[in-house]
């Protein structure tokens, strides 16, 4: 049939294998670079109840705050600038879509990122670079303002303030979170009408689950075990409660758990939804490693972290876009011997993960 209808937008999957104890291991920096996470899910085989230690970490995730009609120029106020300089501060505009609207984000590195449509960019008058994922004509520009190097009262500061306050007084809904305790969002938001939200924790126990058998040393699935795509598909099937035992001839679905497989009597699936800071993810990862240090029935635990589809960045400050799906997520599989697998996936309009 027509070949042009058989093409799909590209997707990327980066698979890594390493050991947590390796000094050069980048697992932490990779997790920290992924700034805006909207959901994590944890799968622990051979476990019926959430272990106390893990529960403690999960329930201690920092709150996030929702503010309506927050003017972007507020970030230039002195106390906000100070807060940003302290680090661990995250802000992302909400109810704005990266392929349609203006999206604003503040990264912990102190960068204020404005992903703007053509009109706004032209009115704003701050220099930016055209979006990498434009078509024919550039209709989206990315303006980056380094808030850390911005000093109150300088010419540059005045200019940014003028643009954001007078020329285009951008206002959107925002989500804030802070990690590390250096920044007190409650103080900062005292003048605003805000809503404090707690990340929502849900746990589900799955009975008699068919699990693919994983071999830590075999990342690519070359020696007959599961390939990364098969494994991720299976993880997706588990979290969406898709039945895995279908015959190849059945009418509705032919999906089956990849071979080699084994049956697990029970497994625990926990999801936390909300704006989750990367620091919290790292804490959880450390706790999972500690959990696996003790002898357990299971040989592995999986942690999936979903990024926000409408964030202007995916990893670090690499531009993120939305074509027909804005997927950007990563998945850690932690093994008992402190080995790990890391799968990082992005969609069509994304740079390659670090």
């Amino acid at each position: 049939m027509s070949p042009e209808l058989e093409q799909c937008p590209r997707s990327l999957l980066v698979c890594e294998k390493g050991n947590f104890k390796n000094e050069k291991s980048r697992h932490e920096s990779q997790a920290l670079k992924h700034s805006f996470n909207c959901r994590i899910s944890l799968l622990i085989p051979e476990c019926g109840r959430l272990p106390v230690m893990l529960e403690k970490v999960l329930s201690n995730f920092s709150s996030y705050f929702h503010v309506q009609d927050f003017p972007v120029s507020t970030f230039l106020e002195e106390k906000w600038l100070d807060a940003v300089k302290k680090g661990g501060f995250y802000a992302l505009s909400s109810k704005t879509r990266i392929d349609e609207d203006n999206v604003v984000a503040v990264l912990p590195s102190g960068q204020l990122i404005l992903s703007l449509d053509k009109d706004t960019y032209e009115q704003l008058g701050l220099e930016g670079r055209p979006s990498q994922y434009s078509h024919r004509k550039t209709v989206r520009h990315i303006v980056t303002v380094d808030l850390k190097s911005l000093v109150l009262g300088t010419k540059k500061y005045q200019r940014v303030l003028l643009c954001l306050k007078e020329r285009v007084p951008l206002k959107t809904d925002f989500l804030f979170t802070a990690a590390g305790g250096a920044v007190s969002l409650l103080d900062l938001l005292s003048k605003q009408l805000y809503e404090e939200c707690r990340p929502a924790l849900h746990c589900r126990t799955l009975q008699d689950l068919l699990c693919p058998s994983l071999i830590p040393s075999d990342l690519k699935g070359e020696s007959g075990s599961v390939t990364p795509t098969q494994f991720l598909e299976w993880l997706g099937a588990v979290s969406l409660s898709i039945s895995c035992d279908n015959q190849a001839t059945s009418f509705l679905s032919t999906y089956a758990c990849p071979e080699p497989q084994s049956s697990v009597s029970q497994a625990l699936l926990c999801t936390v939804t909300g704006l989750i800071s990367p620091q919290d993810v790292c804490k959880l990862l450390t706790e999972i490693r500690r959990y696996l240090d003790e002898p357990k029935l299971t040989s592995w635990v999986s942690l999936t972290v979903h990024g926000c589809a409408d964030s202007p960045v995916s990893w670090g400050s690499a531009e993120h876009g939305f074509h027909k799906g804005g997927e950007n997520f990563y998945n850690f599989v932690c093994f008992q011997n402190q080995d790990y697998w890391l799968h990082m996936a992005t969609g069509a309009k994304d740079a390659c993960p670090p």
Partner: protein, 124 residues
């Protein structure tokens, strides 16, 4: 006995996923229309057959989940027939001469991405 840590390895795969996944649901004017998973799949096949003929009707795809009360489903389709399946679903306009429409919530090359779509979440 400490084993030597496994060496670091990195593989970058492009377009690795053989399948694409679609989260869809079917809406009717009246609420009380109900259909089984088989009828649901048959409706899609009919749509495929109408738009792409016998060749289209033969595209393999899976209905991974089906929720009878919400008439929502997750489909799995080979990436080469995604565009055709999607367009056929788009152009389905009636079921048993009752007008209906498919709403596509999300399409992704990763099934896992369907479980964490920030656009669907209430908190944002």
């Amino acid at each position: 006995m400490e084993k030597k840590p496994t060496p670091y390895e990195r593989v970058v795969c492009k377009n690795t996923s053989l399948y694409h996944y679609m989260k869809i649901n079917l809406v009717f004017d009246s609420r009380n229309k109900s259909l089984s998973a088989e009828q649901f799949k048959q409706l899609i096949i009919t749509g495929l057959k109408d738009l792409y003929g016998e060749v289209g009707a033969a595209f393999p795809f899976d209905v991974l989940t089906f929720n009878q009360t919400e008439l929502s489903a997750i489909l799995r389709v080979y990436h080469s027939s995604l565009v055709k399946l999607w367009s056929a679903i788009t152009l389905i306009g009636s079921y048993e001469s009752v007008s209906c429409a498919f709403r596509v919530t999300q399409v992704s090359p990763f099934l896992l991405a369907l479980s964490g779509n920030s656009r669907e979440m209430e908190v944002f």
